[in-house]
């Protein structure tokens, strides 16, 4: 059989012309299908673009302000992140990173690493003494940092005072947190004022009083609400009682007994936050600390080595995945019971917010999409049934089944193409207009969600052509059954038309 191109184009010409004219002839049905399809494309593009924007905003905010590109933590049989334990029970504390110094030295020397700094994270209660009222506040989420390396890794964002200097003890609070505390206590809290922190960790309750050394704001000039604070790592280690972790320490019986008794007594805990008891506890704690520190000098643990996480910025964040693989391999080889993860694991579960939105969006879209496809199939079937005599006539006149199939395929192709392009253009216009409108972010949250000072939707290749290709495929899928009906029309029905 010889290929005959002139014939191919000839029949294609009549098919295209017939298909386009049929679409116009049956315009009410074409319009129903086209609106369903173009709205689908529009919603998908705008939705995905919005989610992408939010996702990249969250991604950037976490990486820039909190998690870095990669983090390393100890392995544990429960799920935890920089944000703490994520299991429903959630009572355990973050485990301590084993062989911290060895890991840190390896990471620091790694050619892909830009900077690395350790963390201890967790919650603590804050209290401001001698300020009338009760002087207490609810919990804050604290990040214990190493003043010597932290500010090489993260921008300081300090708006008042200083950051935490190396070997300095102190707390840096977020501007919003301080403002709320000030409002609540009706006092002014200035740099240098003492902050008393109550912690609960491996060693039981602990109390420390350190000065407020600075105030920070992630996004300057925008209202943001968070209960974050930074604290020097050493004080946080005291609060969390991290000395008890790695090796059994030989601490005199009576002191441990005292702690145990305190803890088991609920009534005492209520009193615990009164200033008198706090002072008493402070003295007790410092006595205990002295003893612990003496013990530590004897033991193999070096105080500086106790950290929960190592947070790493890479020269090129795009290679995070490969870097994580390398580091995990190395940790494995070294027999260190720790592993590296990406920012998503580091900020779990908050990092999965965009994923959750995306999943919910996709489920809703999926359901709506199925309904839409059903309506399209139904409309196409009705159209085939209506045109049965016409199809029969073409078949009687010598049109093969394949001709009928091609005709209907062309019709759905043009309809999907037209609808897809319409949806795409409308979505583009919407995104363009949103960009033109320069919707300003008014607070820290919208600053993150908008990916910057203005709502700046990011239309990616896949968020645009994904929906477009999806609708083209959906069109062909919706057409399978109607096509089957159409090509099955017997030529004899041409005779039955009355």
């Amino acid at each position: 059989m010889k290929l005959n191109f002139s014939n191919y184009f000839r029949s294609r010409k009549i098919l295209i012309s017939l298909a386009l004219r049929n679409l116009r002839q049956h315009r009410s049905k074409s319009l129903i299908i086209a609106s369903i399809m173009s709205i689908s494309v529009y919603v998908l593009i705008v939705g995905l673009t919005t989610i992408n924007t939010i996702e990249s905003g969250i991604n950037k905010a976490f990486i820039d302000y909190f998690t870095g590109d990669v983090f390393i933590r100890a392995n544990a049989d429960y799920k935890y992140s920089l944000l703490g334990i994520q299991s429903p029970g959630g009572l355990e504390d973050n485990p301590v990173l084993p062989e911290y110094t060895k890991i840190f030295n390896y990471i620091e020397a790694h050619p892909s690493v830009k900077s690395a700094t350790p963390y201890i994270t967790g919650a603590a209660r804050l209290s401001f003494e001698n300020q009338g009222k009760e002087g207490q506040r609810g919990g804050s989420f604290l990040i214990g940092i190493d003043g010597a390396t932290y500010y090489d890794s993260f921008e300081s964002k300090i708006v008042e005072g200083t950051g935490i200097l190396p070997d300095q003890r102190g707390v840096v609070l977020s501007k919003s947190n301080r403002a709320e505390i000030q409002d609540y206590l009706d006092v002014e809290i200035n740099i240098g004022d003492p902050v008393t922190l109550y912690g609960f960790g491996n060693g039981g309750f602990a109390i420390r009083t350190v000065p407020l050394v600075g105030v920070f704001e992630f996004v300057q000039g925008k209202k943001e609400k968070n209960y974050l604070g930074f604290i020097d790592g050493d004080t946080f280690k005291d609060l969390k009682g991290l000395y008890y972790v790695n090796e059994p320490l030989n601490i005199s019986e009576d002191k441990i007994d005292l702690l145990d008794v305190d803890l088991s007594d609920d009534a005492f805990i209520d009193d615990f936050f009164s200033d008198d008891v706090a002072d008493a506890q402070n003295t007790l704690d410092s006595e205990l600390n002295l003893e612990i520190e003496r013990e530590l000098e004897d033991s193999s643990i070096v105080f500086d080595q106790i950290w929960e996480f190592l947070v790493i910025h890479l020269d090129d964040p795009r290679f995070a995945r490969g870097f994580i693989r390398d580091v995990n391999k190395w940790l494995d080889e070294q027999g260190i019971d720790a592993s590296a993860g990406d920012w998503k694991a580091a900020a779990y579960p908050m990092s999965t917010m965009a994923d959750a939105i995306r999943i919910i969006f996709m489920i809703v879209v999926g359901i709506v999409f199925c309904i839409a496809v059903m309506i399209v199939i139904n409309t196409l079937v009705v159209s085939v049934l209506e045109r049965t005599p016409e199809i029969g006539t073409m078949r009687a006149l010598g049109a093969q089944k394949s001709f009928v199939k091609r005709l209907f395929n062309y019709e759905i192709f043009f309809l999907s193409l037209f609808s897809g392009l319409t949806g795409l253009i409308l979505a583009f216009l919407t995104i363009f207009i949103i960009r033109l409108c320069k919707i300003e972010s008014t607070n820290g949250l919208t600053f993150v969600l908008y990916s910057g000072n203005y709502l700046n939707p990011i239309a990616s290749f896949s968020s645009i052509f994904g929906p477009f290709i999806t609708i083209m495929i959906a069109g062909f899928v919706a057409n399978i059954y109607p096509l089957h009906l159409a090509s099955g029309v017997a030529p004899v029905v041409a005779m039955r038309e009355k």
Partner: protein, 234 residues
């Protein structure tokens, strides 16, 4: 020489649990270039027989032979090719393709085939379509769509369309049923003229006795059987 031969053709339709015996062993032959009328009352089997000759329906038993080819042996594809090459159709309800104008409707069957197999050039094809349009008297209506035409005009388009692939046989099932009697007569006479001009075999069914008389071979059916089969000589 016979161009169509029916041999003991039976057609039964299943209608639920009962069987309708529409054609009960019909045999006849039709000669090339004849102008044949298949007559008979309603329900006598005229359409059923025309459909089988037209290869758009298959006999339950017996054989239909077109141009020496036994249609029982052909599949859908081959039957479709045979229809395209050898047969033209004129329908009771005209069956024009609504989105095409007069010229395009007539040209349509030509576009279903490779031009090579038709053996004509583009120019020849255009000339041929224009000739047919002139022949059926629609030169001024070329660009009109079917919904702008009268019934008689539509049937003229259908006649031209049936002839465009130069088939050896044109089948017309009650071509005048939807037309008033004078228009019907004009249409039949037009068919007769083309039959003489081009030598195409025409087979039409009707229960209008005045039209039957224009035919030179009449096959009269009654209750699925041939009641009368005669040729008229002028």
């Amino acid at each position: 020489m016979s161009i169509i031969k029916l041999d003991k053709v039976v057609k039964n339709y299943k209608l639920g649990s009962t069987e309708v015996r529409a054609v009960k062993g019909v045999s006849f032959e039709i000669n090339k270039a004849d102008f044949i009328s298949i007559a008979g009352p309603s329900g006598s089997g005229k359409s059923t027989i025309l459909n089988m000759i037209g290869c758009i329906d298959t006999p339950t038993d017996g054989s239909v032979i077109i141009n020496g080819i036994d249609t029982n042996n052909l599949g859908d594809k081959a039957l479709t090719s045979l229809r395209h090459k050898e047969l033209g159709f004129i329908f009771q309800s005209f069956n024009l393709i609504p989105v095409l104008n007069v010229y395009e409707n007539i040209e349509f069957p030509l576009l279903l085939a490779k031009r090579k197999s038709l053996g004509i050039s583009k120019a020849e094809q255009a000339d041929w379509v224009s000739y047919l349009i002139e022949e059926v008297g629609l030169t001024n209506w070329k660009k009109h769509r079917s919904n702008e035409l009268s019934g008689g005009q539509r049937q003229r388009v259908a006649i031209a369309r049936a002839l465009v692939t130069r088939p050896s046989i044109v089948l017309a099932d009650e071509p005048t049923a939807n037309l008033d009697s004078s228009t019907g007569e004009v249409i039949i006479n037009l068919m007769k003229k083309i039959n003489r001009d081009l030598g195409t075999t025409f087979i039409f069914s009707t229960h209008d006795s005045t039209i039957v008389n224009i035919a030179d071979h009449v096959i009269r059916l009654h209750d699925g059987e041939v009641a009368e089969n005669y040729k008229r000589t002028e």
